[in-house]
């Protein structure tokens, strides 16, 4: 990537206390993201992708706990901020569009009021007139008419509500937007509109974006780098074109081949087995019980994430062997 990344996550671990045990939901994850870049993070439910999104804003709640690591955004370590600094930092530097954001809008408060509240909370000095001007500008930017401001959220469709949430996220022009499943529960036509809106505003304000999801097709259309998580670990990362043209990790290959195609009829191929419980991970590579290419070493040694090509990192013994990166 580029020399001075906007975001760099170093060896981040987040765990949940379950009874007396600790489940590592994010395990030793490192990645970097340049200004204006779009990174997708995919994984099955329980792979740790949503936990990561919350931890990046320190919005995780007990029993989740950050065990170790660094999250540097523009040189500031988010994990070292005190509560006051953190409040300022959230929204103005990083904005989150959480999963099901549109249902988080208060149904009995008009859109204008909710947006004004957010602006006021961070920009105390802004006059009411400027705030209203800003709201209209934001709504136009996400492709809505300014009259939407006078409506209640329950009068809006799902796609419109989600666009209001995008407008709320860019109120302070953050440097990084995190979108967790921004189009789940939306229809395919609306999904396209929302994603295109998100990409447009992200490019306009020059923010970087992390999009979390499980729909590979949507990722192909939305991001320029893709990272795959499995059982809390980053297992594959690649520029989007290379990822789809030549997936390296066996899990990534299966994720792509299990996609049903609208353009041809072919036998359906799922991924056999299921993701292991975080409390009971198999020895070695966590994916080995489901892996078609499994080798004896995979059952014993956890493969490290290794750079196999410029901008490509994979955690797989078989791939490492093929690239001869292993000593």
């Amino acid at each position: 990537m580029i020399d001075a990344p906007l975001l760099s996550i170093n060896d981040l671990s987040v765990s949940y206390a379950i009874g007396n045990e600790r489940a590592r939901a994010v395990d030793g994850l490192s990645l970097t993201l340049g200004a204006g870049q779009r990174l997708g993070i995919v994984g099955e439910s329980g792979s740790g992708k949503s936990t990561l999104a919350l931890a990046l804003m320190r919005l995780h709640k007990p029993p989740a706990m950050i065990d170790s690591g660094q999250i540097l955004l523009g040189g500031t370590d988010i994990l070292r901020l005190d509560q006051g600094a953190l409040r300022k930092f959230r929204w103005s530097e990083v904005a989150l569009i959480p999963q099901g954001a549109m249902n988080a809008l208060n149904p009995v408060i008009k859109v204008r009021e909710q947006m004004a509240d957010t602006i006021r909370a961070h920009r105390r000095d802004m006059s009411a007139r400027d705030i209203n001007k800003r709201i209209d500008e934001l709504l136009v930017r996400v492709g809505l008419s300014t009259s939407v401001a006078g409506l209640y959220p329950h009068e809006l469709s799902g796609g419109m509500k989600q666009r209001v949430c995008i407008a709320l996220a860019i109120v302070l022009e953050p440097k990084l937007i995190i979108a967790d499943e921004p189009t789940s529960a939306l229809d395919v036509v609306v999904q396209r509109v929302v994603i295109e809106t998100l990409k447009d505003v992200q490019a306009q304000i020059g923010a970087a974006m992390i999009m979390i999801g499980h729909d590979m097709g949507l990722m192909a259309q939305s991001v320029d780098h893709l990272a795959v998580m499995y059982a809390g670990r980053l297992v594959d990362q690649a520029p989007i074109r290379e990822f789809f043209r030549r997936p390296l990790h066996p899990y990534s290959q299966l994720l792509i081949s299990s996609l049903p195609s609208p353009d041809e009829t072919r036998p359906l191929a799922g991924i056999p087995g299921m993701q292991p419980s975080l409390l009971d991970l198999p020895a070695g590579c966590a994916f080995h019980p489901r892996c078609p290419l499994v080798q004896p070493i995979c059952r014993e040694v956890m493969p490290p994430l290794e750079t196999v090509e410029p901008h490509r990192r994979v955690a797989c013994h078989v791939v490492a062997e093929a690239y001869n990166v292993r000593a």
């Binding site: 799902g158 395919v188 509109v193 097709g217 192909a220 789809f244 359906l268 993701q275």
Partner: protein
């Protein structure tokens, strides 16, 4: 005519609400659909939310009574004969719902869902016989009984839960299953298994399935016929491969082009349909009027009939030079 159709819907209309000054909301309008006896098939019903596809499922399950039209099962009108309230009908028409969590009562271990109908329909009275049927059904959908029996719903994955629901349907040997978005809440990697189970229900057990979905890709993989609904009306009907392979109605074309392809080099095509979401144009005209890029003066005057032949029907004036048919395939 030989044996009556397994299921025959004729001109089914469902409306909600409405009053003296307010027109009722039309959830489903003049819909006809039939599934023959003896030739099991999977019929996909596709559309956005608000298209009426879920209402259609509820009509077939007997949970919603149409305001107009006829729902016949084995040739008998289920509402006129009261069959809809009979256990026989309940058993013949079963459901697989979207959310594979909320169909399980959190209070009971998962096999409660399988045991209850065995008891209620008097299929297996003794506990041992019930257990045997349950384990057989679980094995048939590829689950290991010892890994699921006695567990509570939150202890299983979405895919496992949905397969238990399919196992339940299988065990009851219904003649028709209404599957409403059965895989939309399941991780992509586990979807194939559930869809494979549905296909097996048709091919090996002769059960017809109404597959309600918003996902044309999975519809193409498993279904024989496809109904595309928009705002309560069927706009395109035909063999699933034909419709998805070469969509004719502008709405079907929009749906197809909106699917994000897993290929960064095949971006969404430039938008040829007016921006906006589900429309609100007058129901006395074509329902797609306000979003259609090809609209003509006639489209605003009256809703189009079904056009084209050969088992393919499109409700659009663009195809009016073709043969006109009043009834759908």
């Amino acid at each position: 005519m030989s044996a009556p159709d397994l299921l025959n819907l004729e001109g089914v209309t469902v409306t909600f609400g409405g009053g003296i000054h307010k027109a009722p909301f039309v959830a489903l309008e003049d819909l006809s659909l039939s599934i023959p006896t003896g030739a099991p098939e999977i019929i996909a019903v596709a559309g956005e939310s608000g298209s009426g596809k879920t209402t259609l499922g509820r009509v077939i399950l007997g949970l919603t009574k149409p305001v107009r039209g006829r729902v016949a099962f084995d040739g008998a009108d289920i509402w006129a004969t009261g069959a809809v309230h009979s256990r026989g009908y309940l058993r013949s028409v079963q459901a697989v719902f979207q959310d594979p969590f909320s169909v399980f009562n959190p209070f009971y271990p998962v096999e409660h869902l399988l045991r209850a109908p065995l008891k209620m329909f008097g299929i297996a009275r003794g506990r041992a016989e019930q257990d045997e049927r349950i384990t057989t059904a679980l094995r048939q959908v590829g689950l290991k009984p010892e890994q699921v029996v006695g567990r509570y719903p939150h202890q299983l994955s979405g895919g496992q839960r949905q397969r238990i629901v399919v196992a339940r349907a299988l065990m009851l040997r219904p003649r028709l299953i209404v599957a409403d978005e059965p895989v939309s809440m399941i991780d992509a990697s586990l979807r194939a298994n559930v869809l494979e189970n549905l296909r097996a229900l048709r091919d090996e057990h002769g059960i017809s399935i109404l597959y309600i979905t918003h996902d044309l890709a999975t519809a193409r993989q498993v279904s024989n016929r496809l109904y595309v609904l928009y705002r309560g009306r069927a706009v395109e009907i035909g063999a699933a491969g034909d419709v998805i392979g070469a969509p004719k109605h502008p709405y079907t074309q929009l749906l197809m082009s909106s699917i994000p392809r897993p290929d960064p080099d095949a971006p969404w095509p430039a938008e040829h349909v007016r921006k906006g979401e589900i429309g609100t144009s007058d129901r006395a005209a074509c329902v797609f009027l306000d979003r259609c890029p090809h609209r003509m003066p006639i489209c605003a005057k009256q809703p189009p009939d079904f056009m084209l032949g050969d088992g393919r029907a499109v409700s659009c004036y663009l195809y009016s030079d073709g043969r006109s048919e009043t009834a759908a395939a």
